[in-house]
């Protein structure tokens, strides 16, 4: 269908970023070569190789941890909170100043649309540093003591590369810890640009160390004996392996894992806004969101109406070049993830659910998946139970509020949930009954540094963000 009002391409310029042919590790304030086998990071929208990135082996990780330990004992833990705050404020301001550069680089390396990296990721990243900078000299009043843990080993995923980095590094540094962080192997570039920002901010060497690599590098960090704290965001499978690896050690752990959130639409919901919330819940960031509203629970009396509105809305989603300012849905992050999404979608069809995809032309190169919805899904379907981590929505129906609660909670996960209704009392009652770390009412996927975030059950433990987020990086009375 061609509209007379066809939006001309409006690409954001790539000229603001300077991607180097190869990147080293950031250890002790300097970029150094890695001893492992370097790997390539690609632009998922085009499959173009962006850069060669060093892989940190055990010896590299050991050096990074040693650098972090030195920085911790000699400089960072001795510095007053007010002094640490100055560095964090400086980093936050540089992130704002270099916001466009960070947003463009994030979209190139990750595949997410520029309007999200520009309007969501980068502003929240800066906000996180500003927020925790404010806590650095007020830790006494947070209620968790003011003694840092030491060296934090942090492993983050590819869906929000820079934002997850901020969630990990900002509270750790504010509390007086030093860090060794590993970005995901498919999205290392913004973390390495962040390393440059640390240099620009004159952050003392060793306070932040960035080591790149895949699973082996992550394992080396997690199992390093001199790491006091492990923070991980990623799949439940790897989270379990980490929990096993640190069991019996002194290491503190926080895990933020998968989800299969229920987005519950009652018959009295503001329907147009609910449809927006459903779209935002599952198609934001191509559905690569641990708290994505991947299960739509809609009351039977409005199910047909909601579905027809949803499909009409999905048909207007603009899928394509992540750097185009009018793109709503970008590229799937990797060939591997695309294969997984395809596999689960095929299973959904084989199990008898009805598949509908938005009519859109997908680019020839790169990794793409059209926004897709499955109707006629039941609790017994795999697409209702397993995390797809892609732009695929499973729709189930319910008849009564108690059935909605039962179905929403009938999952091994418990990260988030959404409730759509005009009735305030129902929102409160649902929020009490839903076993999910975050419950959004008449909205979805809202993030703010002041608000704690974390899961129930297999969605992990510990909280990030807000005052609660400090607890994971401070020595409590029982430690």
């Amino acid at each position: 269908m061609t509209s007379p009002f066809e939006y001309a391409p409006a690409p954001e310029s790539r000229a603001v970023v300077d991607i180097k042919p190869s990147y080293g590790l950031f250890v002790n304030g300097e970029f150094v070569d890695g001893r492992g086998t370097s790997f390539k990071t690609v632009n998922p929208a085009t499959e173009e190789v962006l850069a060669e990135v060093a892989e940190a082996n055990e010896a590299d990780v050991d050096e990074a941890v040693k650098a972090a330990r030195r920085a911790y004992t000699r400089v960072w833990s001795r510095m007053s909170g007010a002094e640490r705050a100055k560095y964090l404020y400086r980093i936050a301001r540089i992130i704002q100043e270099r916001g466009r550069e960070l947003a463009v680089l994030e979209s190139i390396d990750n595949g997410k649309p520029i309007k999200e990296s520009r309007d969501v990721d980068v502003p929240i990243v800066a906000a996180h540093f500003f927020y925790y900078a404010g806590w650095a000299d007020k830790l006494k009043y947070a209620g968790f003591g003011d003694t840092p843990l030491g060296v934090a080993g942090q492993v983050i995923p590819w869906n929000f590369p820079l934002l997850m980095l901020a969630w990990k590094i900002a509270p750790a540094l504010a509390c007086g810890n030093t860090v060794v962080l590993k970005p995901a192997e498919t999205t290392p570039l913004t973390a390495l640009l962040f390393a440059e920002i640390c240099q620009q901010a004159d952050l003392p060497p060793g306070v932040v160390n960035i080591v790149t690599g895949a699973g082996d590098t992550g394992r080396a960090i997690v199992s390093h004996p001199d790491v006091d704290k492990v923070a991980f965001t990623g799949s439940t499978e790897v989270g379990k392996a980490i929990a096993r690896a640190v069991a019996g050690t002194e290491k503190k752990v926080t895990l933020e894992l998968g989800g299969k959130a229920a987005n519950i639409v009652f018959d009295d919901a503001p329907l147009d806004q609910a449809v927006e919330g459903i779209v935002n819940g599952i198609f934001f960031n191509q559905g690569h969101v641990c708290c994505a509203g991947s299960r739509l629970l809609v009351q039977e009396s409005v199910a047909d109406e909601v579905m027809s509105r949803l499909k009409r809305r999905m048909a207007t989603l603009r899928v394509g070049d992540p750097l185009d300012k009018n793109t709503d849905v970008g590229a799937i992050n990797s060939a591997e993830q695309l294969a997984k999404i395809r596999e689960l979608s095929e299973i959904g069809e084989a199990e008898g659910a009805e598949r509908w995809s938005a009519p859109c032309e997908l680019p020839a190169n790169g990794y793409w998946f059209a926004p897709t919805v499955f109707t006629g899904v039941t609790q017994a379907h795999r697409i209702a139970r397993e995390e797809i981590f892609g732009p695929v929505l499973s729709v189930l129906t319910f008849r009564t509020p108690s059935e909605a609660v039962e179905k929403a909670n009938n999952t091994p996960f418990g990260l988030s949930a959404g409730v759509w209704t005009d009735k305030g009392s129902r929102i409160l009652s649902m929020a009490n009954k839903l076993r999910a770390g975050v419950v959004w009412a008449n909205t979805f996927n809202k993030f703010d540094p002041t608000s704690p975030f974390g899961g129930y059950k297999e969605s992990g433990y510990g909280r990030e963000g807000g005052r609660h987020g400090l607890e994971a990086y401070l020595k409590g009375a029982d430690d």
């Binding site: 509209s3 007379p4 009002f5 066809e6 939006y7 001309a8 391409p9 409006a10 309007k115 309007d119 009295d268 919901a269 503001p270 329907l271 147009d272 806004q273 927006e276 919330g277 207007t316 300012k325 009018n326 005009d422 008449n442 909205t443």
Partner: protein
């Protein structure tokens, strides 16, 4: 098909209050999201020409004179005298006593004459006066009537009175098209805007219009969003199309393009037509002309290169 609904005040009230509610935060976020669309080059050129063709070029002042209206009507026919490829506006919009002058100037140019009637802008007059006001304008040659609803009746829940008023004015319009002004700045809530939209559509309004321009806030993106959703849903139920006219406060090309993006993405291309979407505006036209010249020549020229009226 709405006979049962408009049978009594209580049945009408049940229907209007049974429409899905509007979440204010979500509605405003959606409107703001659409406003970030980046419209460039060919799309921008298309949008500017379309916006010019959608303008109801308006003068509604106590100081209006026949001379002023003649000048305005000339401008509506040839907005850019230096460029004959520039399209005419949709209509001129004037008070009823100026209709004859506008009609005379416009002749058979195809530019419509819209008149505000029904004791515009407050709507505070007896029903027979409002009807006489309407007939007077139609007789003088207006082919579009912009009426105001009785906001007092609406806010006190006398929906049937409002419905009947619209239906009667429509009858008085004869062949002229009826635009129903809600004065959304006085209705205040988005729920009210949605209810007023359905009320006016059921009563037979050809267009629903946000504001008189005399009350702040006048047209806003979220209010227009609600009205666009209403006409979209109304067509789905009845098969009938109703037009939308935001009026007041839309001053720049950038603003106008944001509205057109919203029309495009909420209602689709069928509404991208002066028959189904209008801008009530006075100063907007010159900014559109300035941007149009910039698109064709690559240079900005000053305001002195565009006519004042």
């Amino acid at each position: 098909m709405y006979d049962d609904i408009v049978r009594s005040d209580s049945s009408l009230r049940r229907f209007l209050h049974g429409l899905p509610g509007v979440d204010q935060v979500g509605c405003e976020a959606r409107a703001a999201g659409l406003a970030t669309r980046s419209i460039k080059t060919t799309a921008k050129a298309f949008a500017i020409d379309l916006a010019i063709r959608m303008v109801d070029l308006t003068t509604l002042e106590g100081q209006d004179t026949h001379g002023k209206v003649r000048a305005l009507a000339s401008k509506a026919m040839r907005p850019d005298p230096a460029d004959p490829s520039c399209p005419a506006t949709a209509a001129v919009c004037v008070y009823p006593d100026m209709v004859a002058t506008a009609r005379q100037t416009l002749g058979d140019s195809g530019v419509h004459v819209a008149a505000v009637a029904t004791a515009f802008p407050s709507g505070r007059a007896a029903m027979d006066i409002k009807l006489a006001d309407t007939r007077d304008a139609v007789e003088a040659g207006a082919d579009e009537i912009d009426m105001v609803i009785d906001r007092g009746a609406f806010l006190s829940g006398r929906y049937l009175d409002v419905y009947e008023e619209i239906a009667q004015v429509k009858e008085a319009c004869g062949d002229a098209h009826l635009k129903v002004i809600f004065e959304t700045g006085e209705l205040q809530t988005y729920d009210n805007v949605r209810r007023a939209s359905w009320l006016a559509m059921m009563a037979g309004g050809h267009f629903i219009k946000t504001s008189t321009g005399k009350v702040q806030p006048a047209a806003t993106l979220p209010v227009t969003l609600i009205m666009l959703e209403a006409v979209r849903d109304f067509r789905e139920q009845t098969g009938q199309m109703v037009g939308v006219k935001p009026a007041g406060g839309i001053k720049t090309t950038k603003d106008a393009i944001k509205y057109l993006v919203m029309v495009n993405e909420i209602c689709g291309e069928d509404w991208l037509d002066p028959d189904w979407f209008r801008f009530g505006a006075s100063t907007l036209l010159n900014d559109l002309l300035m941007q149009r010249t910039k698109m064709t020549t690559g240079r900005y020229s000053g305001p002195d290169y565009f006519t004042l009226d």
